[in-house]
């Protein structure tokens, strides 16, 4: 999420492929280093309840995650 632009695709790839994974890790790290939060939208099978999971490290991303959303850190308004 970028102010003034909304959703922007940063990068995409297959994490099973080494070359893609390196690019994904690099972008993930770059976003977190720039002060963004990363979250993965998830859906509970059965209940259908949806929520997000905050991830602080690339290794924490669920293997079946289709996307990671980066958004600015919360601050007191």
């Amino acid at each position: 999420m970028k102010p003034g632009y909304g959703e922007i695709l940063l990068t995409e790839g297959d994490p099973q492929l080494r070359e893609d994974q390196e690019r994904l890790v690099e972008e993930f790290t770059r976003q977190l280093d720039s002060g963004m939060w990363a979250a993965v939208p998830t859906e509970h099978p059965g209940s259908g309840r949806r929520e997000a999971t905050m991830v602080l490290d690339y290794a924490e991303i669920p293997p079946d995650a289709e996307r990671v959303i980066f958004f600015p850190r919360a601050a007191g308004g």
């Binding site: 999420m1 003034g4 909304g6 600015p72």
Partner: protein
């Protein structure tokens, strides 16, 4: 004939005056900013078309993340309800019954905590998601702001509430308006046949 043309030219000049003056001011400011290497003033960088496209994308993203009920709530009422996750005993409230507390998430307004059973307003949490990559003057599209709050609350409620400035309801939001929104929400749920709405009314 000549007189008519002169009058027409005069009227055109008068009508186009403000537009020309604005264009001239904009050109001067852009030229000055370019010469000094300084950023453009916000009123020159604001592009309504870009903002509208951004909001359109943001709504699509929000819709893809929240469930159907939450999306319909936002579409129809302009806010989303997020159930409080902490019961104090480490357990989460079930989907079927009302949570002990919940939040109303508005775009670019404080998050409001309330008790669904009684409608009692608890507090408002002022939180924003400032632009860390840009100049800090622009903000997220409205639907992205709601999604950011939704993701933060559903993933790490304690963290986002800890970052927010807490106040009694009424500092930024009109309590009457929030109560009216709660009434709208209960009517909306009643029309959808949500059993939790009946629970709240009977409490």
């Amino acid at each position: 004939m000549l007189l008519a043309l002169l009058v027409l030219a005069l009227v055109t000049t008068v009508l186009a005056g403000p537009v020309l003056a604005r264009a001239a001011r904009s050109w001067t400011l852009r030229r000055t900013a370019a010469r000094r290497g300084s950023p453009l003033p916000p009123d020159l960088t604001y592009d309504p078309g870009r903002e509208r496209r951004a909001e359109h994308r943001a709504r699509q993203l929000l819709r893809s993340c929240v469930n159907d009920e939450e999306w319909a709530m936002y579409r129809d009422l302009g806010f989303v309800r997020v159930a409080g996750r902490h019961l104090g005993d480490g357990h989460r409230p079930s989907e079927a019954r009302l949570p002990p507390y919940a939040y109303l998430v508005y775009p670019h307004k404080p998050i409001v905590a309330y008790v669904p059973q009684t409608g009692q307003l608890l507090s408002e949490y002022c939180v924003e998601f400032p632009d860390v990559s840009g100049d800090g003057r622009s903000r997220l599209p409205a639907s992205d702001d709601v999604l950011a709050k939704w993701m933060a609350l559903t993933s790490d409620e304690a963290r986002v509430i800890g970052q927010a400035n807490m106040h009694l309801v009424g500092r930024q939001l009109d309590p009457q308006r929030v109560r009216r929104d709660l009434w709208r929400l209960s009517e909306w749920e009643r029309r959808r046949g949500d059993p939790r709405s009946a629970q709240a009314r009977s409490a």
